[in-house]
Subunit: 201 residues, 2 copies
Amino acid sequence: MRTFIVVGHKAKTTPEFSLEDIPGTSGRIDILCRCTTAAFVLSHGIRKDVVILLVLCGGLVPKTICLKGSEIMYLNPDERTTAALLKKALELPATPEWSRSTPGIYVRNGGLNELLQQMREIRLLYLREDGTDIRRIDLGNISKEPVFLLGDHLGLISEEEELIKQIEHRVISVGPTSLHADHCIVLINNELDRFGREESA
Amino acid sequence: MRTFIVVGHKAKTTPEFSLEDIPGTSGRIDILCRCTTAAFVLSHGIRKDVVILLVLCGGLVPKTICLKGSEIMYLNPDERTTAALLKKALELPATPEWSRSTPGIYVRNGGLNELLQQMREIRLLYLREDGTDIRRIDLGNISKEPVFLLGDHLGLISEEEELIKQIEHRVISVGPTSLHADHCIVLINNELDRFGREESA
């Protein structure tokens, strides 16, 4: 299983945004949509071994939407369809427990703090421009269940970095150029695909 | 300069499609939009050294839209904004000569045949699943002006492959998994970024 966590600092936690202007009305949920498709879509199918956790911080209380490749349905590669799925998830009355919206999509109250509290056993791979190049990391040393954490266009803020410091983690990067989060996810997936192929060869 | 050519086999050559349902009404111009943002957008800016040529074959006569990073304006990372720019370009009466739509965006009649006729001097890098892995290619051997050719969800058809056979080309791939064209472009850009960094080191 590969897990991606993406923090949307201004992403709305309510469904009151327009599918006709996602970037302008949703607090940049468009970024989270592109991360979702980057995480899941293959040329002819969905990556079943991927989970993505979208942390939406643009409300009074943060919410997290969890999408599971093994269960997800109705996901298309275009932005608007994904935004419509997230909107639907935000219509559910959220509690601290996960509630299922559509197949493979769950929502709850709580943000990065709650997620990391529950992931104390994992070794987090935190994407930042100054991190160690993923190609220099021994991927065999990473657990079989890697968890990657990425920020949106605002990066991660210092309070979030403090949370990360409290757990075992490594700061990594995907190359010499500063890229959007969705493009980072494409590059990570490719690196893991290549490693998986080598391992099974 | 990096050039990407993407063939949209069903992509409409007229602006009669809805921005509210790009995949369903435009002949999958959404694919070309995602390729465009994959080619150009950086975390904080646009790749000025990129050109993308979108070949739209879903009309009586094919059209090509050319987007130049050195001149382009109004490009945002979301799909809808890009689709609106392409729609605007398709509103222009096209001729066999390039006409400028918005800054950095040009359109003309003609498809892959015309493009390749005019590119006889270049060595084409044709993306196909069974190609040589880009990481095994000596990128120093590729001209400083690489031209990459990618198909949409339908790949390239046999008539197009015949055109390719008539010019110097190499068949390459980006890894062990079959990916969408926009994700291939992200991976190519990363490979060239890394090579450029090594070269200048």
